[in-house]
């Protein structure tokens, strides 16, 4: 039986997460350099660590929801709620374990986590809302274009 959450092709969460990783790769170096200027090398390292935490969080969330979506809607509920708890615990552990490390500056780390998380989300939301409002503008993969010609 096909579940109502089953989608042919790439899962939307995976596509969003992939797009966010690309965007993080664009803004990441800028943020690292900017915070590096303010807090020094330790600030730059902490910013990179915070960026890695945010990206890993998005990728893990997408992977869990994609996996659950292939099974059943009930699993989506479970994956979303327990995934939230698990990811929050992982972020907590990731920061708790390094909080006293010599290279960690907690202020840039905290700012990076909040700013990057919200910034990437707003950026992605803009793209998604545009693609929903104007589906014709949505870029199609090159292979699809060549087969349609």
């Amino acid at each position: 039986m096909t579940s109502p959450t089953h989608i042919d092709g790439d899962a939307p969460e995976a596509m969003i997460a992939r797009d966010m990783v690309k965007k993080a790769a664009i803004v990441g170096p800028i943020l690292i350099v900017a915070f590096g200027f303010i807090w020094g090398v330790h600030g730059a390292l902490s910013t990179a660590y915070g960026l890695a935490i945010v990206v890993a969080n998005f990728v893990l969330a997408a992977a869990m929801l994609t996996w659950a979506g292939r099974i059943s809607p009930g699993f989506v509920m479970g994956a979303a709620l327990f995934g939230y708890l698990i990811r929050l615990s992982l972020i907590f552990m990731a920061i708790w374990l390094v909080r006293e490390a010599s290279w960690v500056e907690l202020v840039p780390l905290g700012i990076t986590i909040v700013v990057t998380h919200l910034g990437l989300l707003f950026w992605e939301m803009k793209r998604v809302s545009l693609s929903i409002a104007y589906p014709g503008l949505k870029p199609t993969p090159a292979s699809k274009e060549s087969t349609s010609k």
Binding site: T5, E13, A61, L65, P73, M77, A80, L88, G110, M125
Partner: protein, 94 residues
């Protein structure tokens, strides 16, 4: 003289204990604040996903769009918990 020294040592021990107690209660309150900060997003995510699953069951052809907006909604709701966590970390350790 040794009596006075003993009294001083005892007073220092009491002061240390008070400082310890203050630190323990501060940690407890910080933990409570963080716990409360995660409650709201938990309720929000539960409601959001519940409604999304209902929407997908009613209109399976719109599942792609529903899941896209659901994923973004989950991430936005989760940002609240992250802000609470970051504030907790900054207040506790900085």
């Amino acid at each position: 003289m040794s009596m006075l020294a003993q009294v001083t040592t005892a007073a220092e021990a009491v002061a240390l204990t008070a400082a310890d107690q203050k630190s323990i209660s501060a940690a407890g309150y910080a933990g409570l604040a963080y716990g409360l900060a995660t409650l709201g997003p938990g309720i929000g995510i539960g409601y959001l996903v519940g409604q999304s699953v209902q929407a997908m069951a009613r209109q399976p052809e719109a599942a792609g769009m529903v899941r896209t907006t659901m994923f973004l909604g989950i991430a936005f709701t989760e940002a609240l918990a992250l802000i609470g966590f970051v504030v907790f970390i900054l207040l506790k350790f900085v």
